[in-house]
Amino acid sequence: MKLSKTLLQAIAVGIAIGAVSSCSLFEDSSDVHLKSCDEACEVDHAQKHKNIDYCPACGMG
């Protein structure tokens, strides 16, 4: 299907900014930890796990 050049450019820019992910739950938080983390954990799981197993848009089998 044909999409307008304007839309294709907007998608390209949106991707380039890199502000999208299937997993919305990480996006609003700068201090996200897994249940298994220690209280003192300093790993930024919001970044580390962005877009991986924790974002099950499909493939949960």
Partner: protein, 379 residues
């Protein structure tokens, strides 16, 4: 026969969009499937993504694919009502050609923790599934369908799955998604031939086909046996393309063939190029079939009668069993522990027929639930 649309599962995911963009630019993508509930708690969708959904929707080429409704939960939840309200709202914003969900129920305490696993095929689950599909139909006001599950506990269940799907969608005049990678998982895991398994599905009800990749897991129970898992994290195997080639012409009401891959599986430039090659190959197979398909008017799959909806059906025994099963699979030390606990659970000697569950499948469902039980997070 009208056209079959070569489609992609397209979500708001950087890797997926990077992989799909060249296909958009070359006008290869004829429809998109959007998992509208993945952004359920976070409705800030970029304007350009909204425009993408609108563009495909306006051409009757946008389809919605739910993940988290948990169709067979024995107890109705506020989260399910919220999900329906959300579906009703977005169905007013976007034009979906149809809406689909998955077979099974979600383990876990909320929509974003847990995994979809099977339920016994009984009159109780049939009634609950039908009740939920009627509510989805009422909310979206377009055709509604259900996808076959990759995971099964036993060969007997595999053999009954297609007929049960047919019974489930009947009151809403619904259809099924035939996920060929899920079929491939069942063929391998239960050693069933294609010609045997395919005739167990109501192929006249197939409006959508999925293809995807997956992964192999070494079984500890049966040394040397590999279990096929529906993880969507790799390219489409040749065997699944062969299934597509063999199946299209058997489905007179087929409208969409969708290529799915999880964003995590599309991180490298090579994997994105492979995704594009898979799409081109899929499109080529569809085009080859064009002249072989019967020239008949396809079913609309629109609900024919509006059925008055009362209070949502519930079954306390089923709910309690689902809670107990989830707890066992989430908290057992290992699959042997899970197996032993199941034997002394309230699921023993019931319609769940845990006595017939394949040991390799208990091992697999334990791994699936363990993988997803943390879903997310403490803040």
């Amino acid at each position: 026969m009208s056209k079959i649309l070569a489609s992609v599962a397209c979500n708001l995911d950087t890797n997926i969009l990077q992989a799909v963009l060249p296909l958009f630019q070359s006008e290869k993508v004829q429809a998109i499937e959007w998992s509208f509930d993945v952004l359920y708690n976070h409705p800030k969708i970029p304007r350009w993504f909204v425009e993408l959904l609108v563009a495909f929707g306006n051409q009757n080429r946008l389809i919605g694919h739910g993940i988290f409704f948990s169709l067979f939960s024995g107890k109705w939840s506020a989260a399910q009502q919220d999900w329906l309200d959300h579906l009703k709202k977005i169905s007013g914003n976007f034009h979906f050609d149809h809406i689909t969900e998955h077979f099974g129920f979600m383990t876990g305490e909320n929509f974003h923790k847990g995994a979809p696993i099977g339920v016994p095929l009984t009159a109780v689950t049939l009634a609950i599934g039908r009740d939920r599909l009627q509510r989805i139909s009422e909310a979206c006001n377009c055709p509604v369908g259900l996808e076959n599950l990759a995971f099964s506990y036993s060969l007997e269940e595999v053999k009954r799955h297609g007929d049960f799907l047919s019974q489930l969608v009947e009151p809403v005049n619904g259809f099924i998604i035939l996920d060929l990678h899920n079929l491939y998982c069942q063929m391998h895991n239960f050693d069933v031939e294609y010609k045997e398994i395919i005739k167990l599905y109501p192929l006249d009800l197939v409006r959508e086909i999925h293809i995807s990749g997956g992964s192999w897991e070494d079984s500890e129970v049966v040394k040397g046996k590999k279990i096929r898992r529906d993880t969507h994290d790799d390219a489409v195997p040749d065997a699944v393309f062969q299934l597509l080639d063999q199946t299209i012409e058997k489905c007179p009401n087929l409208k969409f063939v969708v290529l799915e891959q999880i964003g995590f599986g599309l991180e490298t430039p090579e994997s994105k190029i492979q995704f594009q090659k898979d799409f081109i190959k899929m499109d080529g197979i569809i085009k080859q079939k064009k002249d072989l398909l019967p020239n008949i008017k396809k079913k609309s799959f629109l609900a024919e009668n509006s059925i008055p909806l009362g209070k949502p059906l519930e079954d306390k025994i089923l709910h309690d069993q689902q809670i107990e099963l989830s707890e066992i699979l989430e908290n057992s030390k290992n699959y042997v522990d899970a197996q032993n606990r199941l034997k002394s659970s309230t699921l023993a000697k019931t319609a769940w027929e845990i006595e017939k569950w394949e040991p390799t499948m208990i091992e697999t469902v334990f791994q699936i639930v363990q993988k997803w039980k943390h879903g997310f997070v403490r803040k």
